[in-house]
Subunit: 550 residues, 2 copies
């Protein structure tokens, strides 16, 4: 390929996509716009710019150099927002520590990221005291006392005090847009957390594409200048889905709630007139519960972008009765995170509720594809199910220090989500299952949750769980465990359920190969400590059963 | 600067910002959306994708290779849109030929760009016949007959016939995002046109930032999914301000009017329900004239982005009575072109009309600054006037083949607009004057139009023109030519006018240094052939006068 290139003037400015440009553009346009912390502290965008400069000066005084990692352990705050800008803008790398991880995992994350400076909220002082001997790399700590008197022993001092003493102007350097800006760890269910990282270029492009998408959404489904933002996904979790960068770029009012307390969240929502947030379904449920307890009939208008796990129609409906517009999004830690946002156009023929529940439409510059187990592309026909694989300018390029996992993530030049999905003729993505809950049988994917859902449509079924069992001929086969309702305990049989499923095959709603070879009627299903069906336990039960010897 | 970089997995996809990604994202999301040509031809986005593939196949058959230049001479059409995508996507360079230039300039543009293939509308066949001997580089021509029988002699054939015969799938390659995508010529008032060029990266970032901006605008001031687009700035002029890329990315309905005919434009606006366009003030005036002749009271709702020259309040008001929302934008050929877009927020304190008339707010990733003649930065205080200089990811890197002009454009690492501007505390840019109409006196800029406007506020003045004259001490000094109204022909004196101006100095509205040293009372002002005041002639008059010998 001998494409042609321009010959730049020797003095031409080679513009790099740096995080500083997100901040610079917004300051003048929104100089007096507010950034609020818990309703206790208010500052303007002009203050933000000054504090970002002071924070960089402070970190430089502490010896931080470009390329060095600065870790933060804080609740959602204006301070965290300052770190989102100051640390990358000085050429250093921001590590957002997931404070909900186990002690061992926090130690692992801080060590593996080679963080040398740590900003920590007083709430994490006891944890830090316990693990400090295991963190030889941390050469200085800054205490965030958050307005209270607190012991500063062993630290460089208190955040606000150091900030006031630091120089108000920092000469932010220019550098390659591919320089690392942030790093954090995904929370896999097995093994150590994996480190992902994002460059300036990646975060700027993510912010720009997400801004374009959210601003283009129909009314009540988006975020635009004039809207008021509060995160309900922690800032340590994939940069709060990138929204603080989007909100800053828009010059929007921002509200940071500190540690999440349902009553305070509802108060901030009301007092500060928040109308856009994002969260996982569990947080939405918590909010609705708190609203119910407080006797609120409506807490809207509020647009909530929902991600992390599937949005159920019942949760969507309940939220609607409280005046909350929910719409789903799709992404993961490895994808910065936004890949898709749900949308329902006013005159569209499809069902509004369903359209807003599915993962939605890829945002600009994202390429999606579904593939079979051998990575053959599958059609976007609204029926074919395959693993969702991705390309976009903001996907993590590797798991730092884990070559095997990195190559697996990028097998064949596409990022593997390990999610089973369908794509319809309009490009809308719907997630069906996690791939580990998927059964590979006869070269095809079978979604265990789809089979479970169809079994549960039988009036005599109370609960169902489907797992994959090894099979010489088919690779794997589905195996169903079914709990009947009390009145049908004696009458429900595997054959009845098999006929029930065949009816769906005949209607074209289910692949014949998805009908479980074995259907065991059981009294109850094992649960994990958080109440989810324990499929690992079911697999063990299967291995111990006669069926496994058959 | 030793910033840190990620270590990508060997299989990780290095995403390049290529124009193909603009098209790919939109097709699925808007497969059935319409693209209309003059109301005569209608096609879907699916058709667009197919025709883009066929066009690339056709060009490949004609021997076009990556890096080669393909020139187009056409009116605004669905075909032009196809070329916007197919030519850059295959790695070639699209030259958009300004068909309004003089014959000599068209020859110059086609030769200097090294175009080897030319797609031309039958309307330009006579012109081409005349200049073909001067175009040895053009090795093949494709006739766009546009639905009529037309002589194909000397050409490779007719566009639609060749398209139907070409392969329906083209394997578009991937390459460096800095590869050239487009080139065209600016129309300076002196010397040969200058060639500017833009890369894939530049056009993708421009489209994304413009999409984010227009979608974020208050209602009636922007462009979003669901709006209907028709260009009123020709597609050969700075990619119709980048809007065809924006409209395609949004999956919006697009209407192309062919050659601009006022009655047809109004018919298309009405029949196709167009509600977003862009044009220069002259085109808006032409439209309003045609609407008046046709007896239309309203032709709205229609949002018109106005650029190219200043938007007057009277034109804005007249447009408003016809139901047209006008808002100004700012840019130039060298800037892809968008730099600023005017905006007025609902609750803003400033005057809506004035806010929408000024150049407006820089769009994301644009940095603006005003500087004095020695390139010292001036404050953004709403009063200081300086040359507007720019940085953004989509500014042309040079004038191809003109090193001196390229270095001048980029003097000091900022792109020089040669426009005198003020920037207010909110970052809003207002253009005051072309730098060549500006007087450099005592190290400061004086806007000749500002002085003219203030002189004209005197009740006895009919017309005024201010030029710069050389001055040993001050560098330059303003010199005013003033035509009195008939009844004041005998009474108006230079001293009266000087006192009139001093009053503005005392109110802080004018710099004392801006008061002309010489004010000549004259009977009339010389005019150019298009009716503008001929300042060149005035300078000659001055040189021949006694004042120049003083």
């Amino acid at each position: 390929m001998s494409v042609r290139f321009a010959t730049p003037a020797s003095s031409a400015y080679r513009h790099q996509l740096l995080i500083r440009h997100i901040l610079e553009g917004s300051i003048a346009a929104a100089a007096e716009q507010e950034i609020v912390y818990r309703g206790e502290h208010r500052q303007s965008y002009t203050d933000l710019l000054e504090r970002v400069n002071r924070l960089a000066s402070m970190l430089k005084t502490l010896g931080v150099r470009p390329g060095e990692t600065v870790a933060v352990m804080d609740w959602d705050s204006h301070r965290y927002l300052e770190a989102y800008f100051a640390v990358p803008m000085m050429g250093a790398v921001l590590q957002t520590v997931n404070v909900r991880l186990s002690t061992e995992q926090v130690v692992y994350c801080l060590c593996s990221s080679t963080a040398s400076v740590l900003l920590f909220h007083r709430d994490f002082a006891p944890l830090l005291d316990a693990i400090l001997p295991q963190l030889p790399g941390i050469r200085c700590r800054v205490l965030i006392a958050d307005g209270e008197e607190f012991c500063k022993d062993g630290t460089e001092g208190e955040y606000e005090e150091l900030l006031s003493a630091s120089h108000v102007r920092f000469d932010f350097p220019e550098f390659d847009e591919n320089a690392l800006a942030t790093t954090f760890h995904t929370t896999g269910t097995t093994g150590n957390p994996k480190a992902v990282s994002f460059s300036h270029r990646q975060l700027v492009l993510h912010a720009l594409s997400l801004t374009a998408t959210l601003a283009s959404q129909p009314d009540g489904q988006g975020f635009r200048r004039g809207d008021i933002y509060m995160p309900l996904t922690p800032m340590f979790h994939v940069h709060a889905w990138g929204m603080p960068y989007v909100a800053t770029m828009a010059g929007a009012k921002q509200v940071y709630p500190g540690r999440y307390e349902p009553e305070l969240l509802l108060k901030l929502k009301r007092d500060e007139k928040v109308n856009f947030s994002h969260c996982v379904p569990t947080v939405l449920q918590m909010l609705l519960g708190a609203a119910t307890v407080a006797g609120h009939k409506s807490i809207g208008p509020w647009t909530l972008l929902i991600g992390g796990s599937a949005l159920s129609s019942s949760l969507q409906e309940t939220a609607g009765t409280f005046g909350i517009n929910v719409l789903a999004g799709y992404g993961m830690s490895e994808t910065a995170p936004t890949i898709c946002i749900a949308r329902h156009d006013r005159n569209a023929a499809d069902d509004r509720g369903a359209a807003l529940r599915r993962a939605g439409m890829p945002i600009p510059l994202v390429q999606t594809m579904i593939v079979d187990p051998d990575m053959n592309p599958l059609p976007a026909d609204g029926r074919s199910e395959g693993e969702l694989v991705l390309r976009a300018p903001w996907l993590t390029q590797s798991y730092e220090g884990d070559v095997a996992a990195s190559e697996g993530l990028w097998r064949g030049g596409w990022l593997h989500t390990q999610d089973l999905a369908v794509i319809d003729q309009n490009g809308a993505v719907a997630i069906r299952d996690r791939l580990k809950d998927v059964i590979k049988t006869g070269g095809e994917w079978v979604s265990s949750t789809q089979v479970e859902d169809l079994i549960m449509l039988h009036p005599d079924v109370a609960e169902a769980a489907v797992i994959a069992i090894p099979d010489m001929k088919w690779g794997e086969r589905p195996f169903a465990f079914v709990v009947p309702i009390a009145s049908a305990a004696a009458s429900l049989t595997a054959d009845l359920l098999r006929n029930h499923l065949v009816a769906f095959v005949e209607k074209g709603l289910l692949n014949r190969i998805a009908i479980p070879g074995n259907i065991a009627i059981v009294e109850n299903l094992p649960r994990t400590s958080v109440g989810k069906i324990d499929k690992k336990n079911l697999r063990t039960q299967f291995e111990a059963s006669d069926a496994s010897k058959a």
